[in-house]
Amino acid sequence: MTTSVIDSVTDSLRQLTHGRVPEPVEKPSGDEPENMSLLVDALNTLTKSYSDAQGFLMALSEGCLDVDPPPKNYLVSHFKHLHSHLKHLTWQTQQVAKGDLNQNVDFLGDFSVAFNAMIQSLREKRLIESALEKSHQDLLAANAKIMESIEYAGSIQSGMIPEPQKLNAILDSYFVIFQPRDVIGGDMYWLEGTPEEFSFAVMDCTGHGVSGAFMTIVAATCLKRAEQEKGFRDPGALLKKVNRLMRQTLVRESRSRLYDDGMDMGICYVNRNERLAIYSGAHISLFVFPGNPAVKEIKGDNHSLGYRSSNPDYHFNNHVITLEGITDLYMTTDGLIDQIGSDKKLPFGKRRLKRFIQNNHGQPADIRRQALIKDFELHTGIENRRDDVTVFAVSV
């Protein structure tokens, strides 16, 4: 009998060493020595411990940490330790995923080194993000201040352009498109005179934005002084005077600088009673309809105002135009004509402007204004605006 128990025990042990769970060995009868019974009890305890351990270890090997380790099982005590570490690491990782960077892993060998290094990197990243966020907020605040200042400057610039009451008092039929690319810009328009005779002008100063707006203040001041001295009836003389005044101002102010500033301008004098207009331009054209050809472009002289290279003695040509019937007179800065369209990447162009002038002749001024703005926006599409845009159209 003893041999039979030993064989069973041997077989069970062999199965255990091969990773299999044997059936419990039947307890020997009372005839067997007591130590045989103890041997079988010990083997069966080992078998049960091994069986309990298998399920836990299999789950652990598959990364399943929700399994409860078998209690009081010494075979798996080290694995329970590992299980505990993995659960802790899982919790730590979940905390990090939630943004909690307070955690540290202690005394877990390579895990600790890697995890703590990761946490440290994330903390540094958070610090950098925090610094970036602060910089962003500072920039927003600075930008808000600058914008506030620019908007205030815009209201000052608006005060320099003719008021609607003045325009309406002098002009019967007219429209103005005044669209600085930014809040403020380097374009400006002007009107002086009476309903019987008046001059109107557009000007396009160097730059746009704040620098352009500063230039318009210089330009408007010079034009006002020139008009006080020369009157408004001689556009060529006005341009010559403005050229001199601007050169005096800008060349003196910028003597120590590398910049060279100036502007383009067109001035048109109209006498309703005599049915004539006189135009003089500095790089800005007057478009007349009806004319010969249908829309006639009277080009300004190839000479800008106020630059170092501008000749202070230059005499600007006056072009006399006889007004026949209802005549449309258009002046525009190059912001309209040179604007690139998003479709074919071509500029708006003079040809398109002339076509517009001809096609819309006789329409009420408001309708023409809306139509031109729509044409311009359609042409521009998603392309960025390149420059300030000013159009001054008068029908007499």
Partner: protein, 175 residues
Amino acid sequence: MFKEERSGYRFQWKDLGDIEKGRPNLGPNTSVSVYRLMQYTLRDVLITRYGVEAANEVLVEAGKLAGSEFCRNLLDMSLDFSGFVAQLQERLKLLNIGVLRIEKADVDSLDFVMTVSEDLDCSGLPLVEETVCDYDEGFIAGILNTYTGKDFDVKEIDCWATGDRTCRFTARLKV
């Protein structure tokens, strides 16, 4: 101050005295053996005098008192849970009490599973097939009670003395 009769607990952190002043040469630290010498002899006397259950209750209750004072005096209770746990881990490590690790923390239902490795009370004890960290149970409960203002049941489910390499505790709101 220490020996008068009382009907409620009076212990306060300041009762620990000015150790720096009192031990200018030996300093504030002692060995784990000395700590265990006191705890296990005290346990022995308590069991002998009052029985196992009463002895365990005394140890848990004392642990609670200690945890509560520990929390009030060494931890920042204004921190959120994760910050609080991180600070608790740091303090327990600094004072060589044990290495606390959280396995599960449901902050909504206040249901936690945590382990303490290299535990001051039990790590290295002979296997006795029973958990022995009753004082730790109370200590953890005292900390959680004081931090949350709610009563907790803390149970040790694995212990070095039961053959495990780390002590595992569950902590749940007392029903």
